[in-house]
Amino acid sequence: MLSIRDLKISFGKTQILSGIDLDLEKGECLALVGESGAGKTTLGLSIMGLARGSATGEISFQKKNLLALPEDELRQLRGREMAMVFQNVEDALDPVQRIADQIAEAITVHRCISAKNAGDMALRHLLSVGLNGEKARLYPHQLSGGEKQRVLIAMALVNDPDLLILDEPTASLDALTKADIIRLFRSAILGRICIVITHDISLAAALADKMAVLYAGRIVEMGRAESLIRDPHHPYTRGLIRSYPDMTTTKDLQGIPGRLVHGLSGCPFHGRCTQRIDICSRQIPKQRELDGRIIACHRGGIVPLLEISGLSHTFQANYVLRDVFLTLYEGETLALVGESGSGKSTLSKTIMGLHEPDRGQFILEGCSVIKRDAAFYSRVQMIFQNPKESVSHRMNVLDAVQEPLLVQRESSYEARLGRAKEVLDLVELPVDDDFLKRYPHQLSGGEVQRVAIARALALGPKLLIADEPTSALDPSVQAKILKLLMNLQEKMGLAMLFVTHDIALARKVSDRMAVMHKGRIVEEGATNEVLIHPRHPYTRRLVDCALGRYGMENAEIEMMVEPEPVVLEKYC
């Protein structure tokens, strides 16, 4: 087995790996993912004993500490007990030797074997990776990229190593070749310890059962590959997964703001993290085990921002909201969909305190909301449907944007003006005096909605409730406003409750989706899963209608919905 303890590698003054702990049993395959520069390749190379920097810590493999081993013994191990498939297929092969000879060489180095036998073995191995005898006589430059990759795999496997390290094995391959190579890998990694270094999350999911997310030389999250991708707990993991498209991704791609910097004090990710608190910049978070996941985060992963439990609201003896349970996490978009009259807007207004609920509890950032005071409103803000109505026609841009600051008793005019300009800049509006003095009727619908968004941002909220924010706008303006909202989310880690009846729209902007029907939440889950496999008949109907299939009648759905118990996914 392979066990790494507190491995630190530094090149000069820069620490590339800062304390890696890892245990791998035989038969396990670990995917190492992370941005370039995170230290993935360095980790692979240092296990092979090929990293040039100064290393401390311990890498024990087959009961030997590889870091303490002399170079001779290491060389014995390399190629025979542990092998690596390198990232760059072009450079890894000798251009003046036939490939069969190169593989035979790899055999003869480690075994006492005749040249003829070695040649036969090489041919057999090449055949097993799908290259016939004719190809074996070729030079590397005569092979395609996929074929070269196969040669490298054959070379790595030829001595039947216990530890196999694959460094970006499919980075430059097209999808079909990649599929072949992945099939090959699947059989190759059986019974071995395998480490797949990649930034390709779909590859990691296809090959590995365990996944570790590396950031600035530390493992920030590690767990079962499948659950880690479906439900990332660390904000960095979520950012990484959001930036990587797969075929079921529905939300627009989002990046992670900022760039990777080595050698920060405290949590390595704190500079880019949107839920950082004081301690994050001072102390390195310890790796903790939470729900079968190892995570290094002071806040225990992505925090729930707003939890709604048991919310009911009646209006003239009719239930508008019935036992609503909903949790919003930091930095995510939750789309609330449903037909008009299903209680979506009532829910959002109840959160904002515009309606008083009959029953129910709100928990904002771990504290129960008893009274909606200034502190609450500076964390939670709302954008309304029709910007021309939600911004008073008697207020110019500056008046409108600084109104929340005035309400929250920000007395200095300079401070208000500064903040107003800041948020107007955030929503990509001009900040010159001429614009600040304009009235809503002198602006376009999109501009007024931007002003309304700027106004909502003025207090620096963490949760933005957007009630049909684009339904009054034409499609091209709508697209721009949605992009803006997504960018703001990326930049500020805004959580968003996106209320809409437009499923196609919700699909593009949301991470999770909650479907509302007659005041209840009938289904909740990751947006792509809800849309691909809707479980509740009402959701199915909504999706069908959005797809342009108008088969079912309303009455039919009523009959289907009523007798069935309402499925509620509760978050504890």
Binding site: D373, F384, H393, R394, E403, P404, L406
Partner: protein, 287 residues
């Protein structure tokens, strides 16, 4: 939709005529002592003298200069108009707005009072009250105000009811704004066109009521009033004197009333897009 009624009426010819009429009457009232050489209570000695250089409109049955009394009568009219407009609108806004904002029992109570007030026959009550109390200008102002605020309160209440459901007021509430902020920055400014229309309506009614009551004899004998002048002049219609006693007074009263009416009409047109001429034309074309 954004409308700036006060800005819009400045371009309306109707409003301009109205302003001109009101301005004339106002100037007459302000510069009354400069425009004549007599005091309104002076007895010049001659009665029923026809217009001359000394007496522009001649003298009346008591030998008092009619022109001077006309000038000072404008003061009374405008004073009553202004005071009633202020007082009654203040009451309307106070009662209407608080009823709409507070709701509940208080609102029901206020609105029933308003209903009761509106159903009272104004003139008769006023004559009765003035008969029991000694009629004086302040009492008259109070009485007229007491009868003109309820209508305004209804209008203000309905406006505030619709205003407080407006999105921008909801938005202000989501910043954590209290009612004080909402009333002062959202509701009052949005009410201002309604308030100015109410004031004009109240002023017009006050001028008419004051003149009417004085005509019927309900007024302080020491106060010079157009209504009283017309009442006195009517007793001498068999003489030529009515030409320069009754007609100019009637014209002055009409000018004041018509001036205010024109202004409020123009304001209403500006506030109600359906009454706009160009809109009507658009509707005819596309509707």
């Amino acid at each position: 939709m954004h409308i700036d009624p006060l800005g819009e009426i400045s371009h309306d010819p109707l409003a301009k005529i109205g302003m001109l009429m009101l301005a004339t009457v106002t100037l007459m009232a302000i510069f009354a002592p400069l425009l004549s050489s007599y005091s309104p209570h002076d007895y010049t000695g001659e009665i029923f003298s026809p217009p001359s250089m000394d007496h522009l409109l001649g003298t009346d049955s008591m030998g008092q200069d009619i022109w001077v009394r006309l000038l000072y009568g404008a003061r009374t009219s405008l004073l009553v108009a202004g005071a009633v407009a202020l007082l009654s609108t203040l009451l309307s806004v106070l009662v209407g707005a608080t009823a709409a904002l507070a709701g509940g029992l208080y609102e029901r109570f206020c609105m029933r009072i308003v209903d009761a007030m509106i159903s009272l026959p104004t003139i008769i009550v006023m004559i009765l009250v003035a008969a029991y109390l000694r009629p004086s200008l302040p009492l008259l102002i109070l009485l007229i105000s007491a009868f003109s605020w309820p209508g305004g309160a209804r209008i203000v209440r309905s406006q505030v009811l619709s205003l407080k459901e407006r999105m921008h007021i909801n938005a202000a509430r989501t910043f954590g704004a209290g009612w004080r902020h909402i009333v002062s920055t959202h509701i009052i400014p949005d009410l201002s066109p309604i308030i100015s229309a109410l004031m004009m309506q109240d002023a017009r009614r006050a001028v008419f009521m004051e003149a009417g009551l004085a005509f019927l004899g309900v007024s302080d004998p020491m106060v010079i009033s157009w209504g009283k002048m017309m009442h006195q002049a009517l007793a001498f219609t068999y003489l030529d004197v009515w030409q320069w006693w009754l007609v100019p007074t009637g014209l002055a009263l009409s000018a004041t009333l018509i001036g205010i009416s024109f202004l409020s009409c123009s304001l209403e047109t500006a506030m109600n897009p359906r009454l706009k001429k160009d809109h009507a034309r658009d509707n005819a074309r596309y509707g």
